[in-house]
């Protein structure tokens, strides 16, 4: 069983050690941020194995590029960004073709009535994973990471317009699936 640190070290305090390539500092940094960063990677990866690949490659990059981090801005945020960049690299290498054709029916109504509080985050994660990979990338980057459509376009080599349309399609798909899930939940939990 992987031991997570009880007292999570403050990432910033480990920065100096990591810059000096101190192995101990590096290991502590990894162990204190691994779970959170894996939480980022699983959203992008197609399965848990790919997620763990991204995690490892990401941390290797973190330690190699540590000298590039200027102490302005959040260290953890910088690490997070490297994880996303690694995920994008994997995407570019493996999943280049964006699924433009949608087999699923997309509801025209952009707004549906539902309550998402009943859904666990891991359920939402499942839904995100089910998205076609291109939509998944855009949704993750815009909604959760907070990239702009312009930045997304640059990173994924698509136009801003393409980013916007893929985002709205992603949302529509997710809404549809949530409705279906809730319908299922209602059906089984009625009473």
């Amino acid at each position: 069983m992987h031991m997570t640190l009880r007292h999570k070290f403050d990432a910033d305090s480990l920065l100096e050690g990591c810059k000096k390539n101190d192995r101990k500092a590096q290991e502590l940094l990894y162990r204190s941020l691994a779970s959170k960063m894996l939480g980022v990677c699983v959203r992008y990866a197609k399965d848990p194995f790919e997620a763990e690949d991204i995690l490892q490659s990401g941390f290797v990059k973190v330690f190699q590029k540590i000298s590039e981090f200027r102490s302005e801005g959040s260290f953890e945020g910088w690490i997070r960004r490297i994880m996303v960049n690694t995920a994008i690299e994997v995407y570019r290498k493996n999943h280049r073709r964006l699924n433009v054709v949608d087999i699923d029916e997309v509801y025209d109504e952009p707004q549906s009535m539902f309550d998402m509080t009943g859904l666990e985050t891991k359920d939402l994660l499942k839904l995100i994973r089910q998205l076609p990979v291109g939509y998944r990338m855009v949704f993750n980057m815009y909604v959760i990471e907070g990239y702009s459509h312009k930045e997304i376009g640059k990173q994924l080599a698509i136009s801003e317009g393409a980013s916007k349309s893929q985002l709205s399609r992603a949302r529509a798909l997710l809404r549809e699936k949530i409705l279906k899930m809730e319908g299922y939940d209602y059906a089984t939990h009625v009473g």
Partner: protein, 251 residues
Amino acid sequence: MQPMSDKEFDKIFQERFDEFEVNPSKPFWPSIEERLKNKKRKNDFPLFWMVAASVIIVFFAGLYILRPNHTIRLHNDDNLQAVTQPERAIPQLKEQLLIEKKVVRKKAFIKSPVESQQVREVKRPDMPAEQQAADVTDLNKMSAKIETHENHPLSQQAVIVIPNNSELKKEASPLSDSSFHTAPVVAGRTRIKSVGDLVNFVIAKVDQREDKVIEMSDNDEGTSISGINLGVLKIKSGNNKKVRGFKVNFK
């Protein structure tokens, strides 16, 4: 209940996932550490050899460029620099080669006691006179290497390497009125002492005009550009060293 807007929809996802954590199935630190070690080793290796190889190449290139080259000066400096020549379309060296060929045909084909090596070099304008000088003296004393080819492509030139011997100077009769361009700076000597000399050397091989595309000369403060010739624009700092300034010609 209100229908949920996109903004609200996004917000829920963002809040839920911002601090979302997943425990790794196994500790990955060892494999990360391993990769860090490997990458470090892999990076140093080729870099070191690349640097070493470059240094060696540059070193030998430098040796080659600066190799000792004994030449003989048959004229005093005045003659070499005095004659200026109208621009010619035909490369000046081509004409020299013709002169050299004529001279050689008349005299005996002289070979050095050592085997005559092929020395392919473009020689300076002042060379032909030396060849003639070589003819008139007893070359067996010196180990001179002369080489010409009958079917000499114009790109290759006859070359003479003669150890410095001041006796030759007196016996030589300078070729009269031959074309000698004002060679920038390095008068009669092919020794390269500065960056400017190196530049001039390289340029001279390529640029056949009187005023080279760029000329450099050494002054008290080091080497600097003394002339530029871009066809339309010509700048040359005063030929007379007393004059400080330059004249600019626009065509």
